[in-house]
């Protein structure tokens, strides 16, 4: 907040000061009470929660003596001294007042509002002032004519520190904001839409990058399907909540089941009359159906490079020697052996389809999710050995399939459960 420092009362100014009126004898100050119990206690500013208040307005010109309103030329001023009359405003709640030797022709504090005094946003019901005449929140999507009334009040605040220098339009213009036209307000920009977008970009959060604003314009605002009328009841939190609900309702083949572990408790469980084996329930196993994953991946286009038949990879040296090369799962003896076993096994009756092996390669690794804390996941991944490792190991190939998320169990939990 800002308040002008209170000027000393005129009663204490020496009488020879020409700016002040005739001094009055100062009254005798009442004797101040002394002592601890007599001290006057005052509530602090924070207790009172006093809001900053602008200086009180100047008194009405009609109530002042006529000669105090004279505006004399410099020559006349030098030739004769204009009798000065002290113009004093009443005090505001802090006791601050202003005193002029002549009646000023304009009062800069006249339109000051609470918003100009405080960093805290004031009540919206306050009368709009110069400092609150910012573009409304819906201004960036407003695509109507620039002559609409809302475009008249988009002059950036002169107290706005976030606005870049080139956006501080009109601060030195002789026109008052209320009389300026929209064409004046958007001066460096081609049209109001550009101005409103740049105004929005450089105010509020500073996290908006150039690329993101370009993306907003290209993918949203310039889309022919974009209609500003659709957004009249738009709420980001509500739409995000709706999106979350839609995501959580779609399970995508995932199942959540409890894992039952039978724990030895030192008792015999051979006879039917014996007590049942202690069972420990670990909740929260998320898993996919393995066959569902296999069926989905094998019928997708991404599996077009899969090897369905194993082979031996050999290298013939210059000397004629042949050497076996190992590198892929479908060139290993294990695969060849499994295929041979499958070939020898009796097939399904009346089935003439080619019988192939789906080589499953599992991988499991507990993953810490945070640098500090115990948040962790234990996923189970699935790769297909039918795919070349040069394709499979690319991070962008999408060859790693999540099959399960395994819950962790602590020994303490188990002991507590049994006891």
């Amino acid at each position: 907040m800002f308040n002008k420092p209170p000027r000393p009362p005129t009663t204490q100014i020496p009488s020879e000061d020409p700016l002040c009126g005739p001094s009055t004898p100062s009254p005798t100050p009442p004797p101040l009470p002394t002592g601890r119990g007599l001290r006057k206690k005052r509530a602090t500013w924070k207790v009172l929660e006093q809001l900053p208040q602008p200086p009180t307005p100047l008194p009405d010109r009609a109530s002042l003596p006529e000669h105090s309103l004279l505006v004399s030329s410099p020559v006349e001023n030098a030739a004769q001294s204009v009798p000065s009359v002290t113009v004093r405003t009443s005090t505001n709640i802090f006791g601050v007042l202003r005193e002029y030797s002549v009646m000023p022709s304009q009062d800069p504090e006249e339109t000051a509002s609470l918003n100009a005094m405080s960093d805290i946003p004031a009540n919206r019901n306050d009368t709009p002032s110069r400092t609150s005449r910012l573009a409304p929140p819906h201004a960036s999507i407003h695509t109507s004519s620039p002559h609409s009334p809302t475009t008249r009040n988009v002059t950036p605040s002169r107290t706005s520190r976030l606005a870049p220098p080139h956006a501080s339009i009109h601060t030195s213009s002789p026109h008052s904001p209320t009389t300026s036209t929209a064409e004046d307000d958007i001066t460096p920009f081609a049209n109001w839409s550009t101005f409103a977008l740049i105004n929005w970009m450089w105010k509020g959060s500073k996290e908006k990058s150039h690329a993101e604003v370009d993306r907003l314009v290209q993918s949203v605002l310039l889309d022919p399907k974009f209609n500003a009328l659709d957004l009249q009841t738009f709420s980001t939190s509500r739409e995000t909540r709706r999106f979350d609900e839609a995501l959580t309702s779609k399970k995508d083949g995932w199942m959540e089941t409890d894992v039952l572990i039978q724990v030895p408790d030192g008792h015999s469980h051979r006879l039917p009359t014996d007590p049942p084996i202690a069972t420990f329930v670990v909740p929260g196993l998320h898993r996919c159906s393995l066959m569902e994953v296999i069926r989905t991946i094998w019928s997708e286009e991404t599996s077009s490079g899969f090897h369905y038949a194993p082979f031996k990879l050999l290298w013939q040296q210059d000397s004629g020697n042949i050497e076996r090369l190992y590198g892929e799962l479908y060139t290993t003896d294990s695969y060849l052996q499994a295929q041979e076993t499958l070939r020898k096994s009796p097939g399904e009756p009346s089935c003439t389809l080619e019988r192939v092996i789906c080589a499953l390669m599992f991988w499991s690794d507990s993953t810490h999710l945070a640098s500090f804390g115990n948040a962790a996941l234990w996923p189970l991944y699935l790769f297909f050995g039918n795919q070349s490792k040069y394709e499979r190991c690319k991070p962008t190939s999408g060859a790693c399939h999540h099959v399960a998320y395994i819950p962790k169990v602590s020994l303490l939990q188990m002991v507590l459960c049994i006891v």
């Binding site: 899969f306 369905y308 050995g385």
Partner: protein
Amino acid sequence: MHSVWTLLMDEEFLKAYVHGSVICCADGITRRVYPRIFTYSADYPEKYVIVFIFS
């Protein structure tokens, strides 16, 4: 961990393991596919959980 694998090896998987599962592959040819597990990689801390050295 073994209980988890009991859940993962469900009826459908065991049936496909023995009798195969008919899948129309990406090249348009329908094949009878038999799933086989070839590798099971894990780091040491996970592995000793798997082999019941430590829970």
